[in-house]
């Protein structure tokens, strides 16, 4: 390859060689040469979003639902700063993403030029890595390296900042195969000694529990498959974080439901009482652990994570295994199968009897209402009317997100896209756009709240433009429900700024965008309305008017332990929270 290409041509060629099919982006002065190249080719489709944050979440949805790297293209200055939320979101949830940002010409950097921002400076703490390209001859190598860094190890977002003059300059292209990174080599295989120690703990367990997370999904379909095999083989109960939903089928009897702040009673009590905890690809987030001092006090802990810095960060563990989930599980399964000693059957029977007792508490039961639609009922019906189909769910952030996690049931990985770590309101619509781009024939539903959904509503226009038939299912309770719930719990019911005033008419809003609007206000009209939504060939906003004052249960109030959780049918939110607990988020 002796022929010289412009920087912009190198960008397109490198993306093509990386197998990129779609870019989510927004043009501007500092990326015009790249947009000109996009115009002159047909291999890569560019999806024009309405705001750069939308581009990043769309890329996240695309990545999370396919296992591929999401690609974003934005201009300098405001283009880059608008992308920061999505970059941070992708960093927190370990989503592979390459974000190309335009930059002012090299000689203008540092001069406060028009639309200049210190993009590598701003994005350094919110990316896995970032690059400022200083020579066109480095460009191809940097792009290939960026994809490698974004997709391997613990995945994450990588920014490539390309000054405009570099996009015009002529340089050499190098192929992906020729690029090797000298320092960055994540550990994939787990240490065999540690794996054997883990199996020792597993075989001697009397009250074991699998606690799985997003790492299982990130490791790929094989990891979920191996996890299922291991869980079946051991007969142990399993729970998962918000990010791990779908890696184990919810229809299975060994599945205890999600754990954590709004997890099930049985999952949280099993976590509290377990004697051996097998953490696979989760990171002991504070939504999961609650009060650290009282977290699973009598347990030995095994932690499998590809990121060495996750191990012993929040919780000290007994056996830490650095490696990729699928690789570690494969070895663990092999060692487990080779052992003659198996977990004590009588102890397991007693443990399951205890769990069945907690399960009988039916913590997700709610009081149905004839007149108004309970939000839980809405999600349940949505699930019943879409189950077994080729369906992907995205969410915004808040009560509706937790109800979606509790009442929608997932049987497979990569079907559930939500903003877990950062908790980004406005994630759902653009994420649905990204999912639908990757899966044009599938049913893609954003389970939303009326407040969150307004943060990125403009992306409905993107969906209309590209004929992406996403369904925006709004649980409309006219409140920022989770904020209101916390104000009820911690601030004497003073609902400061949490009422959704001056709401638009969502049906008319949909029509104004050229989409379809559907409204349901009573339980008896809900099913038909949902069926109509599913049958509609095009984007839909579904305005589901739900009970206004419903709270999300079960709930572990901040500063409490797993066995101190609140249930809907006893005291509700009528509890005292300690001052230390109030200070927690």
């Amino acid at each position: 390859m002796s022929e010289k290409l412009t920087g912009a041509q190198i960008v397109l060629k490198a993306l093509k060689d990386q197998g990129v099919g779609h870019i989510f982006g927004y043009p501007g002065g500092a990326v015009l040469p790249i947009y000109d190249e996009i115009f002159q080719q047909e291999d890569i489709e560019h999806i024009l979003v309405r705001h750069e944050q939308g581009a990043t979440h769309a890329a996240e949805g695309y990545a999370r639902s396919t296992g591929k790297c999401g690609v974003v293209l934005v201009t300098s200055g405001p283009g880059a700063t608008n992308a920061v939320t999505g970059l941070t979101d992708a960093l927190m949830d370990s989503i592979p993403m390459v974000c190309i940002t335009g930059q002012v010409a090299t000689h203008l950097i540092g001069n406060d030029a028009f639309q200049e921002a210190d993009t590598v400076g701003i994005t350094r703490p919110c990316t896995k890595h970032n690059y400022l390209v200083k020579s066109v001859d480095d460009l191809a190598r940097i792009i290939h390296e960026a994809f490698h860094v974004a997709t391997s190890g613990r995945p994450g977002p990588v920014v490539i900042d390309i000054p405009k003059d570099i996009q015009f300059n002529l340089g050499k292209y190098v192929k992906p195969e020729t690029v090797r990174h000298k320092t960055y080599q994540p550990q994939i295989k787990g240490d065999m000694e540690a794996i054997k120690q883990a199996v020792d703990l597993i075989t001697s367990a009397k009250k074991p529990l699998f606690y799985t997370g997003g790492g299982v999904i990130n490791s790929g379909p094989k990891a979920s498959q191996l996890l299922r095999e291991f869980v079946k083989l051991t007969g142990f109960p399993i729970t998962s974080t918000l990010m791990g939903l779908g890696s184990f089928p919810s229809a299975d009897n060994q599945w205890l439901g999600m754990l954590g702040m709004h997890g099930t009673y049985e999952a949280n009590l099993a976590m509290h009482d377990c004697d051996v905890m097998i953490n696979i690809g989760a990171r002991f987030d504070d939504r999961i652990t609650g009060l650290l001092e009282k977290f699973a006090p009598n347990s030995k802990k095994i932690h499998v994570d590809i990121d060495p810095s996750s191990i012993n960060k929040n919780v000290m563990v007994d056996v830490g295994i650095v490696g990729d989930v699928a690789h570690v599980l494969e070895d663990m399964l092999r060692v487990y199968k080779s052992r003659s000693s198996k977990p004590d059957a009588a102890a397991m029977k007693a443990w399951w009897a205890e769990i069945e007792g907690w399960r009988a508490r039916k913590c997700l039961a709610y009081t149905p209402d004839k007149k108004s639609i309970k939000p839980q009922y809405a999600v349940e019906r949505l699930y019943e009317l879409t189950k077994g189909g080729d369906t992907y769910i995205t969410t915004e952030v808040g009560q509706h997100q937790m109800w979606a996690a509790q009442y929608y049931r997932f049987e497979d990985p990569n079907r559930w896209m939500t903003s877990g770590g950062l908790g980004t309101m406005g994630y759902g619509i653009p994420a649905a756009v990204g999912v639908q781009v990757a899966h044009p024939k599938s049913l893609v539903i954003d389970i939303a709240g009326e407040a969150s959904v307004q943060m990125t509503m403009q992306e409905l226009s993107t969906a209309v433009q590209y004929r992406l038939p996403i369904k925006i299912f709004i649980l409309n309770n006219e409140y920022m429900g989770m904020v209101r719930q916390w104000q009820e719990l911690l601030h004497g019911g003073r609902y400061s700024s949490s009422y959704s005033e001056a709401l638009p008419d969502f049906v008319k809003l949909a029509e104004a965008y050229g989409a379809t609007g559907i409204r349901a206000e009573t339980p008896d009209e809900l099913d038909d309305a949902i069926k109509k939504m599913i049958a509609t060939d095009g984007p839909v906003i579904f305005d589901c008017i739900v009970t206004k004052d419903e709270n999300c249960f079960p709930m572990i109030p901040s500063g409490a332990a797993h066995n101190e959780m609140l249930l809907a049918d006893d005291q509700g939110l009528d509890v005292e929270v300690s001052d230390a607990g109030k200070a927690m988020v």
Partner: protein, 171 residues
């Protein structure tokens, strides 16, 4: 968490990194972003052929946090190797300080006498001032500076700690 019961100790950590733009910002940003202490930090290129720099950081934390610092540093893409010289090796540490002292009469004589005892060198002198150059471990420099306080200490410039493991092995 157990960290409250863990002892807090001072560690010297060395990191070999690619000498590329922004690498120091990544390291410093990591420390400030995650709330770790930096007692001292030095950085300079140490391998011109391979464009590698060595960053030496002195930090104070519990063992758990020290392990986190190591793991977090190791996670940065341009970082080649990280060694906790305090725990993993027997190491030697040196720091250089320039110390400006002003005074007349007995104080001035005493300052000069002390500098000889500490093997500091005079690298600048006027009728009412000295600039001493002193090299040693941190404790020695602290002691010298402490002695200069009543003798007219004006100003100190310190390099921060440079450290290396004893013996024939390289990092």
């Amino acid at each position: 968490m157990m960290s409250e019961e863990q002892p807090i100790n001072t560690h010297t950590i060395a990191a070999l990194v690619d000498n590329e733009a922004g690498v120091l910002a990544r390291v410093i940003g990591l420390f400030s972003g995650r709330g770790y202490n930096i007692d001292s930090l030095t950085v300079a290129e140490v391998n011109e052929d391979e464009h590698m720099s060595r960053i030496t950081i002195v930090t104070t934390a519990t063992p758990q946090v020290i392990n986190q610092i190591k793991a977090q540093l190791q996670r940065l893409v341009p970082v080649h190797r990280v060694v906790d010289l305090t725990v993993e090796t027997d190491s030697v540490e040196r720091e250089l300080a320039l110390v400006k002292v002003t005074g007349k009469g007995n104080d001035r004589v005493e300052a000069l006498r002390m500098s000889e005892a500490f093997r500091a060198r005079v690298i600048d002198a006027t009728p009412e001032s000295f600039v001493f150059e002193i090299t040693g471990n941190t404790a020695k420099i602290d002691a010298f500076i402490g002695l200069m306080v009543p003798l007219g200490l004006q100003e100190v410039s310190r390099t921060g700690v440079a450290a290396i493991a004893r013996g024939p092995e390289r990092m």
